[in-house]
């Protein structure tokens, strides 16, 4: 018993007072990309050609980057000698619509809150059922991290629960493989109304690294409506928490 108390003191208090105190991301962290189309030479396609998922597009002098597809890999930055694309350390990425996640489109916007009725219902207590539907288990791992004491989502009233019957929303990860489609639909149907859906990670939004693989599927919204999209491969836990708090009108 005494050793447990002594160890407790040695391990210290570790919960970050988020959102009052903002986390410091590592210097090589690849967060929200920044586009500088004015630096792109005429006809250059260097970044477009190396992007594994076709997230970048260039029409005329217009460069866009679709965060729905972006894996936040270093390929485009490495391929561009002009500084046309760069990653910042900004971890805030979540959006309410897929259009709002296309950088350079003029429609980009961070997530807005749920409507007043839902924000009131879920704002102080949101129970989520997680459904892992394909993917690589990294999104699931970093969802689990949210319940550890550094992030401690419980203090915001957010909790992952064991049954869809106890849940207010679904937290979907993975591209929704053919073999998981039915299980996802049944779980969604088992949630009581009103309910929300969060698609976390590039897979759950667009298929991510598995875009175009017929068995893998192309994300959540072909199957069920999505209220919050959290980009990333996988999204950093702070990205997820930031998105959830915005959705609940707590940021």
């Amino acid at each position: 018993m005494l050793e447990i108390i002594a160890e407790r003191l040695r391990q210290k208090h570790r919960t970050l007072n988020f959102p009052k105190v903002q986390p410091v991301m590592p210097d090589r962290f690849r967060g929200r990309p920044e586009l500088h189309p004015e630096r792109c030479p005429e006809g250059c396609r260097a970044c477009l050609e190396v992007c594994p998922t076709g997230a970048l597009a260039r029409i005329g002098g217009h460069l866009t980057l679709d965060l729905c597809r972006c894996l936040f890999c270093p390929e485009c930055v490495a391929a561009c000698p002009h500084g046309g694309v760069a990653f910042t350390r900004d971890f805030r990425l979540a959006g309410r619509t897929r259009q709002s996640l296309v950088l350079g489109s003029g429609a980009e916007a961070l997530a807005t809150a749920l409507d007043a009725r839902l924000a009131k219902l879920f704002g102080r207590s949101l129970k989520l059922r997680e459904v892992s539907a394909g993917g690589c288990n990294a999104c699931e791992a970093d969802a689990n991290v949210l319940t550890t004491l550094v992030f401690d989502i419980g203090r915001f009233g957010i909790e992952f629960v064991a049954s869809p019957r106890h849940a207010d929303g679904l937290y979907v990860t993975g591209p929704v493989t053919g073999n998981m489609r039915e299980a996802l639909l049944k779980t969604y149907a088992a949630l009581p109304e009103p309910k929300i859906v969060i698609a976390a990670g590039a897979c759950a939004i667009s298929g991510g690294p598995f875009i175009g693989l017929p068995e893998a599927g192309s994300g959540t919204d072909p199957h069920i409506p999505v209220d919050l999209y959290v980009p990333g491969c996988p999204p950093h836990p702070w990205t997820v928490l930031d998105g959830l708090l915005r959705l609940l009108n707590r940021l």
């Binding site: 160890e7 962290f29 394909g134 993917g135 690589c136 699931e140 893998a216 996988p234």
Partner: protein, 514 residues
């Protein structure tokens, strides 16, 4: 092993050098090699291109046998003239799961297989024979599950959606009272069709897929893949890049082992270690992010080397943060092993014997916990692992306690290894990001990549076509070997011990499902 082609991991050989046996001789030769101390690292089918064989449009089987004690691989092929062949599993139990996979992928029947059914409920691969032995039985969730009959026997079915934040899989327990007589694990829900996609895939798409075969083993799978590309294209890896890769692989092992030690504590209700290790696992992931910006090591390993260098200041920060983290890990884990209530729950639970582990071909900590001394970092030591040898952690009792102990000792060994690697790195010029332009792969060749991921041996095998493109790419995640080990661990246990047994293995669903 006279009839097998001798091959080193990370080396390539012309396909023509691989001995091709008849469908009758092949199973015997493979079984013989296993009897001689071999272990099936991979056994798979492929549909050769017309130029590659004097075949009759049949399927060819390929076995990669690991002789761990000798540190060598043996490769042998079998040419099937028909849609069936004598089943290898009858005299070589570790072949039974591979045989099911081959039947599912290529529609060829292992005659006399004791338990033939799909492993992923996926469509056959291109080049498969036209007649489907699983016609109408490829729908996930609908299969002939093993059943026990009798008064008071009951069945408990769980999944694919589980109560926690975990991957999907279906588990069926055949119980008599509280005692589990058999657990069937039916997977495939995470199947994304990777092996169908990889041949002739656009070059830029392959590495991100390798990094997400199993996201918690990003470095392990990326390393096995890069070894293959390097072998087939003659790319050399500098010493410093090799060291950075090994540091990343050990950080991946540390993060996962520490997280699982905490989860094991949680499964027996010992909450302090659960709480501390949850945080510490994150700290270790953040050290990987210090290296390359990603907590999972994404973007670090590339063919020819690594994309991010460890400059002196970063090296020092890494060393300092790791030392701090390991101090806290030691405190948290010693607390757990010091608690008699924890030990009472760990000891004797979910035991697997050495004989069963050997028969099933278990790998990684699950095998080492049963007394099997195999660790590809030692048995096939190359690069950083040759200059700083790893001492495998081996326990005898095969139970949850042994698996937890192996993991803890491996954590300590990884931390020691990283320290040595950092010492060595500080004396070298920083490993600059290689801008090696992609080179053509050797045509009509075969290469094997091996990496000791945190769950065990990650084995990749590639066969190239006459144009140097990938004709067949086989991925064997350690989980493919080990899921059956978990099923065996549950025999005679209480159903309430399942979470504990499961976490002590913590196998990958997506790595299995591909």
């Amino acid at each position: 092993m006279s009839k097998l082609l001798d091959l080193a991991p990370g080396a390539a050989a012309p396909l023509a050098a691989v001995p091709v046996l008849s469908e009758d001789a092949f199973p015997h030769e493979v079984a013989h090699a296993v009897e001689e101390g071999g272990r099936l690292a991979a056994l798979f089918g492929h549909a050769p291109q017309p130029s590659q064989s004097s075949h009759m449009g049949g399927i060819r089987l390929l076995a990669v046998v690991a002789f761990d004690a000798a540190g060598r691989l043996g490769v042998v092929a079998g040419e099937l003239s028909r849609d069936r062949y004598p089943c290898l599993a009858r005299f070589c139990p570790q072949a039974h799961y591979f045989s099911r996979e081959i039947a599912e992928q290529y529609n060829v029947l292992p005659e006399g297989h004791p338990w033939l059914k799909p492993v992923r409920f996926a469509p056959p691969l291109p080049g498969a024979l036209p007649v489907d032995p699983f016609e109408g039985r490829r729908t996930i969730g609908l299969t002939d599950y093993f059943r026990m009959y009798g008064p008071d026997v009951h069945e408990v079915a769980v999944g694919p959606v589980h109560a926690g934040v975990i991957e999907p899989g279906h588990f069926r327990f055949q119980c008599f009272g509280e005692i589990v007589h058999h657990l069937e694990i039916s997977l495939g829900y995470q199947h994304r069709g990777l092996e169908r996609f990889l041949p002739n895939a656009p070059a830029g798409r392959v590495l991100p897929i390798m990094e997400t075969v199993a996201g918690d083993t990003t470095i392990g799978h990326a390393l096995a893949y890069c070894q293959i590309v390097e072998a087939l294209s003659g790319l050399a890896v500098s010493e410093s890049a090799g060291l950075v890769r090994a540091v990343a692989l050990e950080l991946e092992r540390l993060a996962n082992h520490v997280g699982d030690l905490g989860a094991l504590a949680g499964d027996v209700g010992f909450l302090p270690t659960l709480a501390y290790c949850g945080r510490l696992r994150g700290d270790l992931l953040n050290i990987s992010a210090l290296l390359c910006g990603s907590r999972f090591g994404r973007g670090l390993v590339v063919p020819g080397g690594v994309r991010f260098a460890l400059e002196p200041s970063r090296l020092e920060e890494l060393r300092e943060r790791l030392a701090q983290t390991m101090r806290d890990v030691t405190g948290a884990v010693e607390l757990m092993f010091g608690a008699t209530s924890v030990r009472a729950r760990f000891e004797g639970t979910g035991a697997v014997s050495a004989a069963v582990a050997r028969d099933l071909g278990l790998v990684g900590p699950a095998a080492r916990a049963c007394g099997l001394t195999l660790d590809s970092r030692k048995d096939f030591a190359a690069g950083a692992y040759a200059s700083t040898p790893i001492l495998p952690a081996v326990e005898e009792s095969g139970d949850v306690f042994a698996r937890a102990q192996v993991r803890w000792r491996e954590c300590q060994e990884s931390a020691r290894f990283i320290g040595c690697a950092l010492d060595r790195l500080s004396g070298l010029a920083a490993a600059e990001a290689p801008v090696a332009p992609p080179r053509a792969l050797a045509p009509d060749s075969l290469a094997v990549g091996l990496a000791e991921g945190w769950r065990g041996e990650v084995c990749h095998v590639a066969l190239t076509g006459s144009d140097g493109s990938i004709a067949r790419y086989k991925i064997v995640d350690p989980s493919f070997h080990n899921w059956m080990g978990l099923a065996m661990a549950l025999r005679g246990q209480q159903i309430s011990d399942f979470p504990l047994c499961n976490k002590s293995f913590n196998l990958s669903y997506c790595g299995h499902d591909l």
